[in-house]
Amino acid sequence: MPIRITDSSNSARHALQAAGARRKLDEAQERVSSGRSINRPSDDPAGAATVLRLRTSQAEVEGFARSAAEVNSALLTSDTALDSYEQLLDRARTLLGQAVSDVANTATKEATATQIEGMRDALLQLANQQSGNRYVFGGTKQSAPPFAADGTFQGAGALSQFVQIELGGAPVANGVVATDIFTDETGNIVAALADAATAVRGTSDPAADRAGVRAAIDRLRGFAERTSVARVRVGVGLGATEAAADRLGRDKFSLEERAQRVESADLAESAIALAESSRAVEATLQSIGQVSNRRTLLDIIG
């Protein structure tokens, strides 16, 4: 502390004190009005960087959550369609089973063959169904439906579409491709049903006819097994998307909590700091006023 206090050094000190008090008041006011302790990078550079990284992670989690929901929805649609397909195959096998029974006669066999042929339209509708503007069983080939109107299979070459639903996680297939369930080593299900109807109508050789129908039954069993396998994969995918959705939901909450902890101002603390700094400004200005208004010797001697 200098020995000699002059009027100018007094004034300079007062100005510095007033500026310091006002600065603290301004900072406290900003925290209260914005609700944040970090309003610009310079407030807390490391904290600002942390918040940015957390917000990015939040955005990623939200993106994955949307993807997981989309895949889950697509798989549910696929599962419903596969269930209908399984029922259709089951019905066809039942009809074929009746056709090889001892009570089947020409008339009943003709009726069975007609029923089997009638399943073709339902099958084509199921195989070519769309969700939004996507073919459910189209895979990566979305430019045309898996089957043409005349029953020609045009889904060859399509692959499963994979979607990543978690950071660092393996992508999950968002459906089943037509090739996996509507074709086998010999051909496709439409042709198989046509062959089954032909086998039911039969020839004049009962033994050969029975062998033909049994072969058709076996072939349809093969399609049913492929479908079961596909349903298992869909089930696994559904489990994965649901588990991912749970984890992502928890992550989103945790990230938001962490970001708030870094970025948000404690309102109670901020309000107290505001009140304190406001009082400090008043006290500083009052003390400056008192000192400045005191009578100097010049005032006393008149």
Binding site: R40, P41, T56, S67
Partner: protein, 462 residues
């Protein structure tokens, strides 16, 4: 011995000394708020006896002394220079802080970055969607625009800082001329024995302002003339001659280089140094931002060209390479015109040669958190690289602000130290006024008594 005409001389000298004391006190009071003023006081000494007299012959005015402490003045100049540097740096960098504030909010760069890569995440789930491709193109355009706007703000800061350098250089020239002129007037006045305290005060204040601008130091020669030198010892003012600080625009950006007598000027402190430091810092931030933009364009384009569009055509560059082979920067980042015209060209095809590795869209989306990206000598994910740029900006401003707050206290202390020697205290001057007033009244009374005594003696002879 006894009353004689020497008493009148004693009284006359006493009156004159008291009058001078009052005048000096008045001068001090009048200049209580004058920046750089050094308080003065009358230097008195007892006049010796003349001839065979037994009593002295009154008071002699030896002069009027100004109270200055060279060490305190020099220290004040030095701290003023440091304060000028830190203030200029803080003020120049403050807009940089604003450029990166709310980066994670809509309109901010981090928000645009997240939105761009997330648009590919959405496209991954619907790889056949044309609307989502259009969204990806729009997100790319938003990202490019935000990069450009942020860079422009930094460029504006550099331009304004550069203009401030020119302004400060002009001020320096005016102050240097003022110091040179005062050098001449002080030397001339003191050579003739006339007081030059006020001129010295003015010169001291000009030198302090020069120090605030350039960090210059002053040394006084025997004839009272000051030499003001820059950090490398080259003179800005020598005697009556002042040199000009010239601003020369330097390629490639046309930023001002300060020249003194045709050679680069060494500015070690002061406002000009602070502005130069701010220029360097903002330049570094622009380089980092450009590097990040280039890295994003490069990695996205590499993946995008590895796939096929919705129509099966080979993937194009998502971000257009700048014309003429120029490097990609934050200023020229843009989405390819072909993709803007036809979003179906945006790639979301399966990764070639893989069975379960997802799509190119997914790979692009994963770049946001892929830690292998490189920009500005750093390696990390794009989000962490951008966070580093934001941290650099904030840390620079914070450091400048913290240093300035500390320096303001040091400067206040240096000013107080100078004022404790040279500053005017109204209370002291009031005491001086009383003292000299009483002395004047007493001297006047003495003269009246001496006059009465003389009249008495003269009347005896009649």
């Amino acid at each position: 011995m006894g009353v004689n005409f020497s008493s009148f001389e004693i009284g006359r000298r006493a009156l004159r000394a008291s009058q001078l004391g009052l005048t000096v006190a008045g001068q001090n009071i009048a200049n209580v708020s004058t920046a750089g003023y050094a308080r003065q006081s009358v230097q008195l000494s007892a006049a010796p006896a003349t001839g065979t007299g037994l009593v002295g012959s009154g008071v002699t005015v030896d002069g009027v002394r100004a109270f200055r402490d060279r060490f305190a003045e020099t220290r004040l100049q030095s701290e003023t220079a440091t304060s000028g540097r830190l203030t200029a740096r803080r003020d120049a960098l403050a807009p940089v802080d604003a450029a990166f504030a709310d980066s994670d909010q809509p309109g901010g760069l981090q928000h645009a970055l997240n939105g761009f890569f997330n648009s590919f995440r959405d496209l991954e789930a619907h790889p056949d969607s044309v609307p989502l491709r259009a969204s990806a193109v729009a997100a790319g355009q938003r990202l490019a625009a935000t990069f450009g706007a942020t860079r422009q703000r930094l460029a504006d800061v550099r331009r304004e800082t550069n203009a401030a350098i020119a302004d400060s250089a002009a001020q320096t020239g005016a102050l240097a001329r003022q110091v040179a002129e005062l050098n001449g007037r002080i030397a001339s006045a003191e050579a003739q024995g006339a007081p030059a305290s006020e001129l010295r005060d003015q010169r001291g204040e000009a030198v302090k302002q020069l120090a605030e601008l350039t960090g210059a130091r002053a040394t006084e020669a025997a004839d009272g003339r000051l030499t003001v030198t820059l950090a490398d010892g080259r003179p800005l003012v020598v005697g009556d001659k002042a040199s000009e600080l010239e601003c020369v625009p330097t390629p490639p950006e046309g930023l001002n280089t300060l020249m003194l007598e045709g050679l680069p000027a060494a500015i070690g402190d002061g406002r000009l140094r602070g502005l130069a430091e701010a220029l360097t810092e903002t330049g570094g931030l622009i380089i980092s931002l450009d590097g990040l933009a280039a890295s994003i364009a490069d990695r996205v384009n590499t993946l995008h060209t590895s796939g096929t569009g919705l129509d099966g055509s080979p993937g194009l560059n998502f971000f257009a390479p700048p014309a003429g082979g120029a490097p990609t920067t934050a200023a020229n980042l843009s989405v390819s015109a072909a993709l803007v015209a036809d979003p179906r060209l945006v790639v979301a095809s399966p990764v070639v040669g893989a069975t379960s590795a997802g799509t190119v869209a997914g790979q692009i989306a994963n770049l946001l958190s892929d830690g292998a990206s490189q920009a500005g000598g750093r390696t990390g994910s794009f989000s962490s690289l951008l966070a580093s740029v934001v941290t650099d900006a904030g840390a620079g401003v914070r450091a400048a602000d913290d240093a300035l707050q500390t320096q303001q206290l040091i400067l206040a202390q240096a000013q107080a130290q100078r004022d404790s020697v040279s500053g005017v205290s109204l209370d002291e001057e009031a005491i001086n006024l009383l003292q000299y007033q009483k002395a004047y009244e007493a001297a006047a009374k003495f003269l009246r008594i001496a006059d009465e005594m003389t009249q008495t003696i003269l009347s005896l002879g009649q």
